[in-house]
Amino acid sequence: MKKIIVENLKYRYPLSEDLALKGISFEVEEGEFIGIVGRNLAGKSTLCQALVGLVPHFYKGAYSGKVEVSGMSVLNSNISELSRKIGIVFQNPFTQITGAKLTVYEEVTFGLENMGIERKEMVKRIEYVLHLLDLEKYKDRNPFELSGGQMQRLAIASIIAMKPGIIVLDEPTSQLDPQGAEEVFKAVQSLSREGITIIMVEHKVEKIAQYTDRVMLMSDGGIVDLSTPQKIFSKDDLLDYGVQAPVFTRLCKSLNIKNKDTGLYPATLGEAYELMVKYEQNRS
């Protein structure tokens, strides 16, 4: 089933003259892990917000086109209804803490209480997500006392507890240190293994190459291409779009070491290593 269908989505923020999104169309299958890359102001965040309904319901503005998420029309549903199908985690771990709850355990329930979930079911879900996100040992801590990485995992847990089939992450590791970032990537991997459809905006292209099924390159409010990491990162004009390919891709490009089957350059360390070894063997 197509989890996400976007058709000719156009959007302009209020008080703005230019379109932030200029006719976006794409589809996502259930269980896919999509990475989004592109320079700042390319429209990546706006697209994320359009998937969950913040665009247009929170921001207002001028909107046209279709966005359908798990069969629900974004335009014709409100954000609370959509939150049952799709969730979003933002860049700033701190502003995603509601502040109304005193423990990590209670913090996760915030969305569930709003949805009117029955108490027994609430407890089941909380235990499940705390375990999945490795937060059990912090369940009685005050959310404000967590580290950045822990806070982001808490944000993810709070969203996943609402059981959306899709989660969007908009630069979730930008403000974290390497350990925190690694924690988040591991968490997102667990989610992917559970079959959850994931859309992630990231600047760390090496990680995008490592984890995603397909990569969307955005520029100037539009999609340049949506394809495998290898294909996207092998593009010759990638730098024009403000994206630098993973160092492994750049290395193999300089040495003209391609994957014989696809004609593309490798995007991950593992792939690059294998090809390099073969290359050295062939040379000697």
Binding site: Q49, N92, T98, L102
Partner: protein
Amino acid sequence: MTKTLSLYVERNTFIHRIDPINKVLYACVVVAITFILPYELVGALLILVSILVLLAGKVFRKVIPLIEFSFIIMLSIVIIQGLFHPGNRIPVFHIARITFYKEGLLYAFNLSMRVVNILLAFAILVLTTKPSELIEALVKKGLSPRFGYVLSSALQIIPEMISTVDSIMDAQRSRGLETEGNIAVRIRAFFPLIGPVVMSSLIETRERAMALEVRAFNSKEKKTFLSERLAIRSDMVIRVSLFVMLVLSIILKVLL
């Protein structure tokens, strides 16, 4: 330790377990009775009851600084009323050439007892009730959940925002802004400090509003609650007793 704006003292007493709504009702009834029956005996009795409740809640010691503070207020009431109360006729004592009158002193005494009663009754509420539990109880009874959220989040977020003032001061001082010195210096430092405080608060509030939205904050579903406060028998008993006390005082007022 995270700061919360709250005076709640964690203890495991019966008083702590009483329904928060009942404690609110208690405070209201006490205040009402001090107005309905403005007699010294009544005032003293109520003070005694509140003190006993505070002792039972093991929080009496926390009230003492509060009482000390109210002494200052009461002293000024005594002085003003003792000297200038209209209807002052019978002098009681002199200090130098200033005369204190009986009617005024009596009035001041009554007023002071009312102040202490109000303080003690609310102290019981504030010291023995977790703010989150009180707010949740109110929401369960019909308070708008959005307003309930504003109240409960304010308790944690305001202290957090205050701590960002330090970061802002650091940043501006680093750019050569003098913050110490005479009054002119401090006034000049005001805008470079207040500007970022306001802007960053607005930005944070907006980000938080979006995060709340996607957690179904504006959902029209009937809200459920993780915590169940199982009603105890004394809840009903207390509520009925309070109601009876109120009715009795009205009856007494009419009779006397």
